[in-house]
């Protein structure tokens, strides 16, 4: 049975618009122009317990709005949502004990005190006795590689250390469902990798369900076998990254290193020429013709080296967002 159930979920906002300048200010004061923005439109999906799901989309697509509705911070404008058997908007204590929402730029730790002080408060709020709290803090600290940092004021920690401590605070009560909004935002490469290792380990140990948004494709590819791609408030794709790649990029990239320099026109019968620079050539070839085309290239041309690869997923997604494609699943 699904632990997250979303049906026809929608959310719209009324926003006021103001023209620049003094005239605009006076008009705005006397007669405000208001328009309705549909941030989320008719979302349908289900997530099973223990799944790790990536939530992709360009800025303003509706990812954070969706996470806020799933956690109960926002009321939906329409549709139905159920998480862990509860209606999030009711914000019952039993529901709040089973979920957590971590937003990369927002903090719950007390800024001027060491993280341990905030963790003790959280332990009391969630009803953990001292021994259990100490055990969980030790476990999380070991997984997140935090030690003496827990005794330093939060303001004295680096961004990476602070994010780890925030995660500790968010996971101390061992929630069943984790909503993570850009958890690696602003972290350096090593800290990002450490965060991914931790999340994978946490999911493995505790079977937690994770819904994760990120602008770093490395987070998604490393952690999420399943991806929900949201664009302009609507669900564009629900499946694996591989399926998304095949759907958005039906062609594969063939890179050639040639013994001789040939003109671009020499390759027109093999596929679309992506680039032709001296002896290095890149072609886009339909997947179902790949084997035949590679055979012909090796037979017909002076090929020193040949490599077949998928276009980078970042390029595929980026192209989709730039084109504003609204093809529906």
């Amino acid at each position: 049975m699904a632990i997250v159930h979303v049906q026809g979920l929608s959310r719209s906002f009324r926003v006021s618009e103001k023209d620049p300048g003094l005239a605009g200010t006076l008009r705005h004061f006397l007669r405000r122009k208001v328009r309705t923005v549909e941030a989320v439109r008719d979302l349908h999906f289900e997530i099973e317990p223990g799944e790790m799901v990536g939530f992709l989309g360009p800025n303003g697509a509706g990812k954070t709005t969706t996470l806020k509705m799933l956690s109960g911070l926002l009321h939906p404008s329409g549709g139905r949502v159920e998480v862990a058997g509860h209606v999030p908007a009711h914000r019952q204590a039993a529901f709040l004990r089973r979920i957590t929402l971590v937003m990369g730029q927002k903090q719950q730790l007390i800024w001027d005190l060491p993280p341990l002080d905030s963790l003790r408060v959280n332990a009391a709020v969630y009803g953990l006795d001292d021994r259990e709290a100490a055990r969980r803090i030790a476990e999380l600290a070991e997984m997140l590689e935090l030690g003496e940092e827990l005794h330093r004021p939060v303001r004295k920690l680096s961004l990476g250390q602070r994010m780890k401590a925030e995660l500790m605070a968010a996971l101390l009560h061992r929630p069943e469902v984790l909503f993570l909004d850009e958890p690696t935002l602003g972290l350096d490469v090593n800290a990002q990798a450490a965060m991914r290792r931790f999340l994978a380990d946490y999911n493995r140990r505790h079977g937690a369900t994770v819904l994760l948004t990120s602008h770093y494709m490395a987070d998604i590819t490393a952690l999420c076998p399943r991806v929900l791609l949201i664009h302009a408030g609507s669900l564009f794709h629900d499946g694996s990254l591989e399926q998304l790649t095949q759907r958005l990029a039906p062609r594969r990239e063939v890179r050639l290193e040639l013994a001789d320099i040939l003109p671009g026109s020499a390759f027109s019968g093999y596929g679309e020429v992506e680039s032709c620079s001296g002896r290095d050539v890149r072609l886009l070839v339909d997947r179902d013709q790949l084997t035949t085309v590679v055979g012909r290239l090796l037979a017909d041309l002076p090929v020193l080296d040949l490599e077949v690869r998928d276009p980078p997923i970042e390029d595929i997604i980026g192209r989709l967002f730039r084109q504003g494609s609204t093809e529906q699943p």
Partner: protein, 262 residues
């Protein structure tokens, strides 16, 4: 220990630790509450006091008691909440199974505990400077004064917390709190003991919550004439009004927060 007590203890301990990080600021905050002592210096030479049958010694004791009461009834929840709202700190806290009001209440009580040593020092200094005004209240009066001061704090907190809930509708609810400072100034006994007010004004003032926040505990502590039963009855009535009002505003405010975009 019941879970509520555990939570209260954990909140108080963490907030006390936080307040101790600001020792210099606490001293400045305590000094910023000197207005009753300034009023004492104004009234001590004024003929109106003597005409009303209030001796300089009584004035000194009243305003010193008012100073002490003010230190333990000052409330700043609207500013803290407004800042948390504007900086986006509310969202993570709203997702915890603990009403926000308890965090702010704990912060206020912790601040009072931090002020205590400074207040004791200032009282000792005052007794040294004005030895003829030094006194020790009777145990009954002292207990009643402490109870009245603590209830006065809760009245002040609940009144300002009700205004704080308006932050869910307006980001600058603190402007409304400043509007309430005027009636507090005139009706609480901060400027002068209510005994000096015209009878009609004094009766009106005693119907409002403001005297409960300062005049009632200060009179009890300083030995002044006061109808304690009527005073505590007024406290009870206003608590009975403000507690449900806060509950209603909190629920409506959170619904609006969730409806408007968090």
């Amino acid at each position: 220990m019941t879970s509520a007590l555990r939570i209260a203890r954990a909140l108080f301990v963490s907030q006390y630790a936080l307040m101790l990080e600001f020792r210099a600021e606490i001293l400045l905050w305590a000094l910023s509450g000197l207005m009753p002592l300034l009023m004492f210096s104004l009234w001590s030479g004024a003929p109106a006091g003597a005409a009303a049958g209030i001796s300089p010694q009584a004035f000194a004791r009243y305003f010193l008691a008012a100073f002490v009461v003010r230190q333990f009834t000052v409330v700043w929840v609207v500013y803290a909440f407004e800042e948390d709202n504007l900086l986006g700190r509310l969202s993570p806290l709203l997702l915890q199974p603990l009403p926000l009001v308890w965090r702010y209440a704990a912060a206020h009580l912790a601040e009072q505990a931090t002020r205590l040593p400074f207040v004791v020092g200032m009282v000792a200094l005052f007794f040294w400077a004005v030895p003829e005004a030094a006194w020790i209240p009777s145990p009954t009066r002292l207990l009643l004064a402490l109870l009245a001061a603590h209830l006065g704090f809760w009245l002040s907190f609940l009144l300002q917390h009700a205004i704080t809930m308006l932050c869910f509708w307006s980001e600058r609810a603190s402007a409304l709190e400043r509007f309430l400072f005027m009636p507090y100034l005139f009706l609480s006994g901060l400027l002068a003991p209510l005994d000096l007010y015209p009878e009609a004004v004094r009766r009106f003032a005693l119907l409002t919550p403001f005297p409960s926040m300062l005049y009632l505990p200060a009179q009890l502590a300083s030995g002044g004439a006061i109808d304690a039963v009527a005073g505590f009855r007024t406290v009870a009535v206003w608590l009975a009004v403000l507690i449900p009002l806060n509950l209603v505003l909190w629920r409506a405010g959170v619904r609006r927060y969730a409806a408007m975009g968090g």
